[in-house]
């Protein structure tokens, strides 16, 4: 069997009873989610959690019984990526009144901690006890939660995150599956230097403006605080549809 055939066909199919047995620990551990949801008493929340719980577990069993890991992983991956903005944007609007943080929230450090900034913030937090982010140290999606999630996911998943959890990868997956063959071929090799050019421009422009240019102009997840003048200057981009459209581009270049 060649390497390519092996990748395409995945693992050998497993008997259903074996697959169920192997899935049982995950089935029980993840059952904590719907059990917790039941306590809330909110029907829509309970249904959503149940669907998610069943979906993930059924997909896992199907991966084992059919051996088509790639197919089911892809479906889950794309669904996660598409669903995340649908949750994240209303959550931002519900919490802050808009996708952007108000200056009040900024001053009172009520922002959700940006997962991308966690690593950069750890060193000054440990050395100088200063958290360079308008967010709480603990509670909610504050620094401690973000740092814990970052360290935990890095240790537990490693690069698996990129092909199973990362929303940018999910959008990549979706777009790469739209057609069987690439539409644009023979791309000039010099384009591989665009991310470095972008990095250089971001660093230099941030130094001029003394503002996080990346967070304000490029980051599609919008988990960082937005500044008043940027909100005025680029309202179209900062609205959700355009922001979401930038995701595939984002994962190709600035990521």
């Amino acid at each position: 069997m060649t390497a390519s055939t092996k990748t395409r066909t995945g693992s050998p199919p497993m008997a259903i009873w074996k697959a169920l047995l192997l899935s049982l620990p995950m089935f029980l551990i993840t059952a904590l989610l719907p059990l917790q949801a039941l306590e809330s008493g909110e029907l829509s929340y309970i249904v959503a959690i149940l669907v998610m719980w069943l979906g993930f577990n059924v997909a896992f069993i199907l991966m084992l019984t059919t051996g088509q890991t790639y197919r089911y992983r892809s479906v889950l991956f794309i669904l996660l990526a598409v669903a995340l903005p649908l949750w994240f944007i209303p959550m931002m609007i519900e919490t802050h009144g808009s996708m952007m943080l108000s200056e009040e929230a900024f001053v009172s450090a009520e922002a959700n901690f940006c997962p991308l900034a966690t690593f950069m913030v750890i060193v000054p937090a440990l050395v100088k006890r200063i958290v360079i982010f308008p967010s709480a140290l603990a509670g909610g999606l504050g620094f401690a939660t973000a740092a814990f999630m970052w360290a935990g996911s890095t240790l537990a998943l490693g690069r698996g995150w990129c092909s199973w959890g990362c929303l940018f990868g999910g959008w990549d997956e979706l777009f790469s599956r739209l057609r069987k063959r690439a539409v644009i071929k023979n791309i000039d090799r010099r384009w591989i230097y665009l991310p470095f050019g972008l990095l250089l421009a971001i660093v230099l422009l941030s130094a001029v403006t003394l503002q996080p240019i990346y967070c304000g102009w490029l980051c599609p997840s919008r988990s960082s605080p937005s500044f008043k003048h940027l909100r005025r200057s680029w309202p179209l981009y900062r609205s959700s549809p355009l922001s979401c459209c930038s995701l595939p581009w984002w994962s190709c270049y600035p990521c």
Partner: protein
């Protein structure tokens, strides 16, 4: 002396303001340290021109100009658009497609006087009203004489220029051809940013 100290104290700010234009340009040109030093000096020459203009205005208008905030937006906006155009021409002139009319004239002009690009960029970058420049402007306006006003800006220029010299050492990486491509991409991105900001400032859309 006060202008010199002011420049020395705030030179890093001036460097930060000019670096987005100068660094990608120097990288893209891919010249050695000595040639880069010449380019930086030309850029500084342009900046000196901008500062002398400010010195003249400080003498002529006193502090009146500082109060005309709406005109500041127009001047800086126009300077940004000009800066963006120069940066784009500097980067794209060598590879402009045949028959691209906008580039034909520019290419001919700049190939005849290549020093115009760094000089022009320096001049336009010098028009950016930053806090240290406002301080120098106030100092210059308070002298009351043309010579005094120009001298304040000249000394301010000397004080700030010291910080620009190390940029010449980017030429040490001239043999890394990939850096030229990186510089080119960065220059285009910076140019687009300045174009966008310039148009907004010029039209009074936003204060950056």
């Amino acid at each position: 002396m006060q202008g010199f100290l002011l420049g020395l104290a705030n030179g890093t700010t001036c460097l930060a303001f000019c670096a987005p234009v100068l660094v990608p340009f120097l990288l893209e040109e891919g010249k050695n340290v000595r040639q880069n030093l010449m380019t930086v000096l030309k850029f500084l020459g342009g900046r000196l021109g901008g500062y002398m203009l400010f010195g003249l205005l400080a003498w002529a208008t006193g502090s009146l100009l500082l109060r005309a905030t709406s005109y500041q937006g127009l001047v800086i906006g126009a300077a940004y658009v000009g800066l963006s155009a120069l940066l784009l021409v500097a980067v794209l002139r060598k590879k402009a497609p045949a028959g691209a009319c906008a580039f034909e004239g520019a290419r001919a002009t700049f190939s005849r006087w290549p020093a115009l690009i760094p000089l022009g960029m320096g001049f336009l970058a010098g028009l950016k009203v930053c806090p240290p420049l406002l301080l120098a402007f106030t100092d210059a306006a308070s002298t009351g004489t043309l010579i005094g006003s120009l001298f304040v800006f000249l000394m301010f220029f000397v004080g700030t220029s010291i910080y620009f010299i190390p940029l010449s050492f980017l030429g040490a990486f001239a043999h890394v051809s990939d850096l030229r491509i990186v510089g080119k991409f960065a220059a285009v991105i910076v140019a687009l940013y300045y174009l966008f900001s310039g148009v907004l400032l010029f039209t009074g859309g936003v204060r950056l």
